[in-house]
């Protein structure tokens, strides 16, 4: 376990030090959410109704676009090679990396969501509900994005390719995340139904993402 803990600590440190770009995700989230009303118009009633959707879309983009460098940096400086000679399974190693990434990028999004809810005329209860769904759903986004990060490393193409590969896979998470938020806001569904499905999707994504990413890395190494 120490090996994985060391990897986790290293990635958290890298994210919060100068040049790590740990806060960029939240900044991106803030800007996306701020831009929406400029396109939609400052109609508070409308913003309040589609607020959860805006927050979810912003969080989705912020989670996925920051994943681009997660594995690519380790590949460029040779760290990924050495990780293959480690004694912990590659699946757990990429999971530790994804967890560190979620902690430094995903969790700040969850914390920022209620604050951004104010901009979108969401009351405190609804903002809390959206934050709760994000807390349950953003790990799914990170682990689905991990597959794209691994594929883009092996294909040596980064950036938008990752988003193109991964975004279709995030559709279910988006559906049930927004559905749960809206259920808390207006009903008529009980909050628990979509929220439970969202949690299930997250658990599935953690397993599938981890194995798919490790497989992609193993097969793509040259």
């Amino acid at each position: 376990m120490t090996a994985l803990a060391a990897l986790f600590v290293r990635d958290v440190r890298l994210a919060i030090r100068v040049g790590g770009g740990g806060g960029i995700g939240v900044l991106f989230f803030l800007i996306v959410v701020t831009l929406m009303p400029f396109a939609i118009g400052p109609d508070l009633a409308l913003l309040g109704r589609i607020g959860p959707a805006i927050l979810w879309l912003g969080a989705l983009l912020a989670s996925l676009l920051t994943l681009d460098r997660l594995l690519a940096m380790d590949q460029e400086d040779g760290s990924l090679d050495l990780m293959l000679t480690g004694r912990s399974p590659l699946e757990l190693a990429v999971a530790a990396k994804a967890l560190a990434h979620w902690l430094t990028t995903g969790l700040p999004l969850v914390i920022a969501a209620p604050l951004l809810g104010l901009f979108l005329n969401l009351d405190l209860g609804s903002s809390g509900a959206v934050a709760l769904t994000l807390l349950a759903g953003t790990p799914a986004l990170t682990f689905i994005g991990l597959i794209g990060a691994a594929l883009s490393v092996t294909l040596r193409r980064g950036g938008l390719l990752l988003a193109v590969l991964v975004m279709p896979l995030t559709v279910p998470v988006l559906i049930f995340g927004v559905a749960a938020s809206n259920a808390a806001l207006v009903g008529p569904l009980p909050f628990g139904t979509p929220f439970t499905i969202l949690c299930a999707l997250t658990l599935i994504s953690i397993v599938v993402g981890t194995f798919a990413a490790a497989t992609a890395l193993r097969h793509g190494m040259e």
């Binding site: 290293r10 890298l14 030090r17 040779g78 760290s79 293959l84 480690g86 040259e222």
Partner: protein
């Protein structure tokens, strides 16, 4: 302990790099892989380290730890230093020491390569030679029987080359194995040589 390669074939990017390669390295022996650029020296090392799949042939480490795979018993020192510039020198080494398997990383590694004085500095401020020394410190910090060194003397000054030669001699004396790719001498007295010729 013996590292055996029999009838190895390497294909990269659709091109056959080498074929029918045999070698044999025993405990306390060093094998120097030579050959012109593109002959497959690096590919062979990466193949032993498990990064490149064999297109044919067999690689095995006899009398090694039966619970570990070959790559898990090998140290790979490649062209890239695998260092993070924003972490300090000590943090970089500690991470690899923990990740690659040592229970309690010590300062011996840094002292052995003469970087004890800069342990607290960010790795970003190191010169190419110092970065190389820091990579070499990894070999000392974690005990692994097989060292795979890809042109280990590049970027090293004379003093550092001698330090490395000393570390290699100590490793061999302790029953370790070394496979090194090199253009020139690596500072060891008697080594086996494996010459890679271009595949016909």
């Amino acid at each position: 302990m013996r590292l055996l390669g029999t009838q190895l074939v390497c294909v990269r990017g659709g091109r056959q790099v080498f074929a029918g390669l045999d070698f044999d390295v025993g405990a306390g022996e060093a094998l120097v892989v030579t050959g012109r650029n593109g002959a497959g020296k690096s590919s062979l090392l990466r193949m032993i380290a498990g990064f490149v799949r064999t297109a044919g042939g067999l690689l095995e480490l006899r009398h090694g730890d039966p619970e570990l795979t070959l790559p898990e018993q090998a140290h790979y020192l490649g062209h890239q230093d695998a260092l993070k510039p924003s972490l300090s020198v000590a943090e970089n080494l500690d991470f690899w020491a923990r990740y690659l398997g040592a229970e309690a990383p010590g300062r011996d590694g840094l002292e052995a390569v003469g970087l004890g004085a800069v342990a607290a500095l960010p790795a970003a401020y190191l010169s190419a030679g110092q970065r190389r020394r820091l990579s070499i410190a990894r070999l000392v910090a974690v005990q692994r029987p097989l060292w795979l060194l890809d042109e280990p003397t590049s970027a090293l000054d004379r003093a550092a080359q001698e330090t490395l030669a000393g570390l290699m001699r100590a490793h061999l004396a302790g029953g370790g194995l070394i496979v090194a790719a090199a253009h020139g001498p690596i500072g060891l007295a008697d080594t086996k040589e494996l010459r890679l010729e271009e595949a016909p």
